[in-house]
């Protein structure tokens, strides 16, 4: 426990009473953690199983971002901790990536020493000490760069669901797959009502659930559509929105309706494929509305947060090592200057803004696991 002294770590999660004599460290049991605890997968590229591939044939990236964002939406204001399952056999255990995958969403990873690191540290092994020192530096870095910058996620798509019961799988997978598409989303948890401000700034809402929502939510959705928004919803909800008239537009998997100044996309066939649902939401919203885009993305995933004055683009590299290619970030937001820091190079670097042919792009310096661009 002496290892924790002088580090950003201020809480130990233990299974029993914990060791005596700790000062400056809060000791809690798992059951009494002062946070919502999310059980996640080890982030990174999933081990390839024979004969399996993602829907696009691309490597399958495991990230806990959507689980964290869902937990935050369910219990606003509460801290979220991520506890990772035991890695699968053969899976690479990259603890810095685990920390980054929690931190970029404003959560904290409950550091898991594992048998190897715990034994190494107990034995005073130099390699283990080196690993621990890197984790300590990373924790300090993320406290500085993610804690302060945990602004509201910027998005043009809201994903609304109870995220429970029969609707849980589809809605959660949509979040998961939207992130993989680099499609920014806002998690909207269904209740009895839906505040108008929760839809502010959105251009589209995907309501995943089978049943029509409660009257208060339906009224908010109707107002959103009448004001010019796009709603993707199932048949029961479309039927409940009176006044919607078919437009006759051709779309492979949707029947389009007009209501006020907005549009509704109802299903031609019942939704059962979250991949296609995330794809359709992205296409109907149109990629021209993407907040940011990465060129030569490899296994990078971006996340955009903003408070209206300041926009932060965080990028996690799930390959866990530097990209072989130059990475370019296309930005739709107007800004004056762009500053970049990464886990490996925490000193801020001002980026040269490339403005050509109507595009605003930033060439990102090489980084291994985590980089963040602040647009001021």
């Amino acid at each position: 426990m002496a290892l924790l002294s002088g580090t950003p770590f201020n809480c130990a999660v233990v299974d029993g009473d914990g060791p005596p004599g700790l000062t400056g460290i809060t000791v809690v049991t798992r059951a009494k953690a002062p946070a919502v605890v999310v059980e996640g997968e080890w982030p990174g590229v999933a081990p390839v199983k024979a004969g399996s591939a993602g829907p696009t044939g691309s490597p399958w990236v495991d990230s806990n971002g959507w689980k964290i964002r869902l937990a935050q939406a369910r219990e606003p204001g509460r801290a979220v901790w991520v506890q990772l399952k035991t890695p699968e056999a053969g899976q690479e255990v990259n603890r810095l990536l685990a920390m980054a995958d929690a931190a970029w969403c404003g959560a904290r990873w409950v550091v898991d020493f594992g048998d190897d690191l715990a034994r190494g540290l107990a034995a005073g092994n130099d390699r283990a000490k080196g690993q621990w020192e890197r984790l300590v530096r990373a924790a300090a870095f993320f406290e500085q760069h993610c804690g302060r910058q945990a602004l509201a996620p910027a998005a043009r798509l809201g994903v609304l669901s109870s995220y429970a019961g029969e609707d849980e799988f589809l809605a959660e997978e949509v979040l998961n797959l939207a992130a993989r598409r680099h499609l920014a989303y806002r998690v909207l948890v269904k209740g009895e009502a839906l505040a108008a401000e929760s839809l502010a700034g959105l251009q589209a809402v995907l309501y995943c659930d089978t049943a029509a929502p409660a009257k208060g939510v339906l009224a908010a959705l109707e107002a959103f559509v009448r004001g010019g928004g796009l709603l993707l919803a199932r048949r029961a909800t479309v039927a409940a929105l009176r006044g919607a008239t078919p437009t006759g537009e051709s779309y492979p998997r949707a029947v389009m309706y007009k209501l006020g100044r907005g549009r509704i996309a109802g299903p031609k066939h019942e939704w059962d494929d979250p991949y296609l649902l995330a794809l359709d939401a992205h296409l109907m919203l149109s990629k021209r509305n993407d907040l940011v885009r990465l060129y030569n993305p490899g296994l990078l995933l971006p996340q955009v947060t903003s408070d209206g004055k300041r926009t932060v683009v965080q990028v996690v590299n799930f390959a866990g090592r530097g990209s072989a290619n130059d990475v370019v970030l296309l930005v739709q937001t107007k800004f004056g200057e762009a500053v970049f820091v990464s886990l490996e190079h925490p000193e801020p670097r001002r980026l040269t803004v490339q403005r050509e042919a109507g595009r605003t792009e930033l060439y990102l310096p090489a980084f291994g696991i985590y980089g963040v661009v602040e647009l001021r």
Binding site: R288, N296, N325, Q354, A357, Y363
Partner: protein, 382 residues
């Protein structure tokens, strides 16, 4: 000879000059326009207009017609060579697309369709273009009626169209294609001036390889009926012949033919150029890349700026001139640059009667090959 030195290349392309313009015109079976064009800026539109005039004028070709433009957007929408936007290396540049659409509209084209089989996706072509960073709205308003279609699946059509190869084909007797290649009166192959790791060069002929839908010819297409969600590239069917296309399509002519990509891909290209002839071939060599057809081709790929446009009514002859501009002898065949590992699309195309690759029989108008020669492979003698 690893490839042509500058001196050799000049000797090769100088033949036409020595023969004299009158003699060449008498012998010519094709006309190809070549123009110096350094940028995609203001000089582009007048340069292209002049080239089309040199070929007889666009109005005579397209007035009242539905015109399809097959562009080259090979590879993923977000893949780049270094930081360069794809249109400066391996994609047709949207400026050439926009100028062409505008001039087709002015020439009286009834409708213009921009076509490409977008890599590993069946999403609308406009979305693929947005993802690449293109201004689709500008293209869509460049003429009166402009449409876009991703031909990697059915697109906006209700069924695929079987297009037979006259004379029976070299690899397949016919190809199942998106309706847009059939429902057009005039087809333009708007290609890029590039080398190709499998086919040696990729110009207006090889650009046609991309008209095949991966829902049928893709690595992940079902065995029987095509899926509307294209998966994978065309490696298994066309490159190495590991599998046949979905059963909706005709099977390969000879299942015992070589499973060698250098044999197969070029034959498919020639088949496709015969099944759906190119009415106008345009090759964008203003800025492009050398070493291969895309950033995935490994080390040694580099951005280059030959500053040239090539256009002609015959795809074999246009590509022959393009190859000569790149410093390659269009008469050469397998085993010689750039066809070290493959047969020549130019040779096969000529043998199939699609056009001549013999520079002595091609009238080059505008700028001479000599003036725009740009060696894609530098040699000691260059």
């Amino acid at each position: 000879m690893a490839c042509l030195s500058r001196r050799s290349a000049l000797q090769l392309v100088g033949g036409g000059v020595v023969a004299g313009r009158a003699a060449l015109q008498a012998a010519a079976t094709a006309t190809v326009a070549v123009a110096r064009c350094r940028t995609y800026g203001a000089e582009l539109a007048p340069t292209m207009a002049k080239m089309f005039d040199q070929l007889g004028g666009l109005a005579g070709m397209v007035k009242g017609k539905t015109v399809a433009i097959k562009v080259n957007m090979t590879g993923g929408a977000t893949w780049r060579l270094g930081t360069k936007p794809a249109e400066l290396t391996h994609y047709t540049h949207p400026a050439t697309v926009g100028v062409l659409i505008d001039q087709l509209g002015r020439a009286g084209a009834r409708r213009v369709r921009v076509l490409e089989s977008a890599f590993q996706t069946g999403e609308p072509l406009e979305e693929f273009m947005y993802e690449s960073g293109w201004d689709v709205a500008a293209l869509g308003t460049a003429a009166g009626r402009v449409e876009f279609e991703n031909t990697n699946n059915l697109g906006k059509g209700s069924k695929y169209v079987r297009m037979a190869v006259p004379g029976g084909g070299l690899l397949f007797p016919s190809y199942e294609l998106n309706h847009s290649y059939h429902d057009c009166d005039f087809l333009i192959s708007l290609a890029k001036l590039k080398e190709h790791v499998t086919a040696g060069i990729t110009l207006s002929m090889k650009n046609m390889f991309g008209i095949t839908p991966c829902t049928i010819y893709g690595d992940g297409s079902p065995k029987d009926e095509p899926s509307e969600d294209p998966k994978g590239g065309r490696g298994a069917v066309f490159h190495n012949g590991e599998r046949q296309p979905a059963k909706i399509a005709a099977a390969e002519l000879d299942a015992k033919s070589p499973r060698d990509a250098g044999y197969r891909v070029v034959r498919a290209v020639v088949d496709l150029c015969a099944a759906r002839p190119v009415d106008l071939a345009i090759v964008d060599g203003i800025e492009t890349m050398a070493g291969g057809e895309g950033p995935w081709c490994g080390p040694g790929m580099r951005h280059v700026a030959p500053g040239v446009l090539v256009a002609g009514r015959n795809c074999v002859s246009t590509d022959a001139v393009g190859a000569a501009i790149m410093g390659f002898d269009p008469i050469t065949g397998r085993g010689r640059p750039p066809f070290e590992g493959c047969d020549s699309t130019l040779e096969l195309g000529e043998a199939r009667g699609l056009g001549t690759r013999d520079l002595k029989k091609i009238e080059v108008v505008g700028t001479s090959i000599r003036e725009v020669l740009y060696l894609f492979r530098r040699t000691a003698g260059a």
